[in-house]
Subunit: 162 residues, 2 copies
């Protein structure tokens, strides 16, 4: 089936710069192809969302749940000093949240990572090791918000898109 113009798809620039890890209940989880820093992105699979406030309130809360999940996974894997979490999107309008593991010995510290130093692509083995480790984390159920009326999403398991 040919995708209709109303179907969500990942922005080509994000597709180019990342590798897919998997789909959380709301967002696609991506690994940035920049080995300077362990760097994840969450992209809510919602049409025409550019700012966080373009999501409805339930999706905003689910995005926070997924930010916390991805942050903890990244911190567990890297023992980083600090997490940088940001929705900027001045150049790529599709809503995406950066989650970057920072260390005092990384090439941009203490500055933000955007534009600091050129991206350094992963070697294939290193990238696959990261993705496998992240997928191991995803296999744990992702909690979702359940409303008092029981209308919240219950599909707490994640699917791989890679």
């Amino acid at each position: 089936m040919i995708a209709s113009p109303t179907a969500w798809s990942l922005h080509p620039q994000l597709e180019h710069d990342t590798a897919a890890v998997g789909d959380l209940p709301l967002s696609r989880l991506l690994l940035s192809n920049d080995a300077n820093y362990p760097w994840l992105l969450l992209v809510p699979r919602r049409l025409a969302a550019s700012d966080i406030i373009d999501l409805d309130e339930k999706d905003q809360v689910q995005l926070m749940i997924e930010i916390a999940f991805a942050s903890r996974a990244l911190k567990d894997l890297t023992a980083c000093h600090k997490l940088n979490v940001a929705a900027i999107g001045n150049m790529v309008p599709q809503l995406h949240v950066h989650i970057v593991a920072r260390r005092p010995d990384d090439p941009a510290w203490p500055k933000p990572v955007w534009g600091a130093v050129p991206a350094r692509p992963y070697g294939a083995a290193e990238r696959e090791r990261y993705i496998a480790a992240l997928r191991g984390k995803i296999e744990l159920a992702i909690p979702t918000l359940t409303s008092p009326a029981g209308e919240g999403r219950q599909d707490g398991t994640a699917r791989y898109c890679g």
Copy 2:
């Protein structure tokens, strides 16, 4: 009463760089003293929180509610093109979330604002006008998450700290 060392207080650097707008249920809302961009900060009043995942889950959700509230207030006041939302904190360890209204004609566009151009302090009248407008927005009740068991915070009104 002298504050005990276990009492929350605003980090001196944030105190220096901002003016207080008011207290939302979780966070202190601040206006950055940089007239290059309308720029708010949310600082959760929680001890020893540096990353978002240092907050408990209820506070994480409340932070998202307050990010959405402050984002909408800023967008209403500025008719900005894009919102930049970020928790970085590599230099000031107290958890704080930047919410910046961006326009294609601002001095850093499309780059992120951090370190892009020197801060340009507000004139007193312009700063007070912004703060008054933001306080007008805060006087509307801030929604808080109510748990199914009814144990959520109900104090949806905000207090001024300024």
